[in-house]
């Protein structure tokens, strides 16, 4: 019996680890994911620095992702899912760009896509993405100059979004839960329900009903405790993704 339980646990763990796949963000956020190992260490670092700087200065995030396996997705679909899943760009601005590169092999052609977040679509329309791919990327890729092609495309994208977004006018507002009548009533109800319990408890232990003010004091001290823990974000070069959204805009090419 115990063994069956273990096997089931193992299977569930295996399935869930399979399901939380490439489209969920990596534990260490990065803007250069070179899974196909097409860059040298220096190139990867230079590119990562360039993209982190762009993200810091303009909040626009460009993710460069290389892979040899698109897992049966079309490259455009793969790029969209990646951008949406990792949340490239800022929530609200949706100013993320994803570049996916699949190297050419003997049996398959090379493929590349530029996927634009919703906020980038008006600045870099599909036709412009196509031109960047045809002029900056594919000619370089044909000569084996992967890094040069990617950097040229990144520069082209960066100059097109220049000055559009900035940290100053970014508020980072997501979906704020507005305080509705229902939740206020709910809070009041909980408050008085708590008082009834508190009073009953006091009567049971001490033998007399505690005052309303001692209850108020008790609740306030609880709130004080729970809000004590602050958040401490760790920054490793690049601060992290902002939760941008992607709608499938962009272009793809092959060679």
């Amino acid at each position: 019996m115990k063994r069956i339980f273990l096997i089931i646990t193992f299977l569930v763990a295996a399935i869930s680890s399979f399901a939380s796949d490439i489209f969920s963000p990596p534990s260490v956020p990065t803007l250069v994911a070179d899974n196909a190992q097409v860059f040298t260490d220096n190139q990867r670092m230079a590119l990562a620095n360039k993209l982190s700087a762009l993200s810091r200065e303009t909040t626009t995030q460009i993710l460069v992702y290389t892979t040899t396996d698109l897992q049966d997705y079309t490259i455009a679909d793969f790029g969209q899912r990646l951008g949406e899943g990792w949340g490239v760009g800022q929530n609200g601005f949706d100013n993320g760009i994803v570049i996916v590169y699949k190297p050419k092999t003997d049996s398959t052609s090379g493929e590349v896509t530029i996927q634009t977040g919703y906020g980038i679509e008006p600045l870099i329309p599909d036709a412009t993405c196509m031109r960047i791919i045809e002029r900056e990327m594919i000619p370089n890729f044909r000569q084996g100059l992967v890094y040069e092609g990617i950097v040229d495309a990144v520069d082209a994208c960066a100059s097109l979004v220049q000055g559009e977004f900035s940290a100053d006018n970014y508020s980072g507002t997501g979906e704020d839960e507005d305080v509705s009548v229902g939740s206020i009533i709910f809070f009041i109800v909980c408050f008085f329900l708590g008082y009834v319990l508190y009073a009953a408890y006091g009567q049971f232990t001490v033998g007399r009903r505690p005052s309303f003010f001692s209850y108020l004091w008790f609740v306030l001290s609880l709130i004080g405790h729970s809000s004590g823990g602050g958040s401490s974000g760790s920054s490793r070069g690049f601060g992290g993704y902002g939760g941008g959204h992607f709608g499938g805009g962009g272009a793809s090419g092959r060679w």
Binding site: A76, S180, I185, V189, G248, A251
Partner: protein
């Protein structure tokens, strides 16, 4: 004293129920709005495709005069597709099927046009045409994405309103189940537009 506590208890109980009813109702409204919003996006991207077609037809016409019947098919399918709209409050399976049928006819008319275009290398080399091609490709991707987003939102809404006890609130306030896009073979993934 005891009596006071009892009355307080009853009042609290009633307030809890009322509070829960309001909260649940509000959550359903929020989910319902989410579905309507996603539906608007779906119609948006289909409209975007429809908007590209006059330009596409004009460009193709200049190079492929003999293909007027294929072009006419596209134009007719386009006007039918744009005439079918669905009110997000009435997203039932029959209205959605009608919408899909009209858009599907346009998709197949377009893909027939693309096959024909293969015979015209001059057209394929045209800069204006290749830009239209990129836009059409991007739009097909957008359609796939927005259909998927709509299905996700509709699924979340449906799951919520059919679960007990939220189902009580949903039925008392007349919220109904929304229809999904059916995943036809390969439609979960964006179709490849090849020229």
């Amino acid at each position: 004293m005891k009596k006071g506590l009892l009355i307080a208890g009853i009042v609290v109980f009633v307030l809890v129920i009322v509070g829960w009813y309001i909260r649940t109702g509000n959550k359903i409204v929020r989910l319902d709005e989410g579905v309507a919003e996603k539906w608007a996006q779906v119609e948006n991207v289909y409209q975007r495709r429809a908007d590209l077609i006059p330009n596409l037809v004009a460009t193709v016409k200049g190079y492929a005069e003999h293909e007027s019947s294929t072009l006419t098919d596209v134009i007719e399918a386009r006007s039918k597709a744009t005439s079918v709209t669905v009110d997000p409050d009435k997203l039932n399976s029959s209205s959605l099927r009608q919408f899909e049928e009209a858009q599907g006819n346009l998709s197949s008319a377009l893909s027939r046009l693309m096959v024909v275009i293969e015979r015209y290398p001059d057209l394929k080399a045209n800069q204006n045409f290749s830009e239209l091609q990129a836009q059409l490709e991007g739009t097909e991707n957008r359609i796939a994405v927005e259909r998927r987003n709509f299905n996700d939102a509709a699924r979340e809404y449906n799951t919520y309103i059919r679960q007990f006890p939220a189902s009580i609130v949903a039925s008392s306030r007349g919220f109904e189940k929304k229809a999904y896009f059916e995943a036809q073979a390969g439609s979960e993934k964006a179709p490849e537009v090849k020229f």
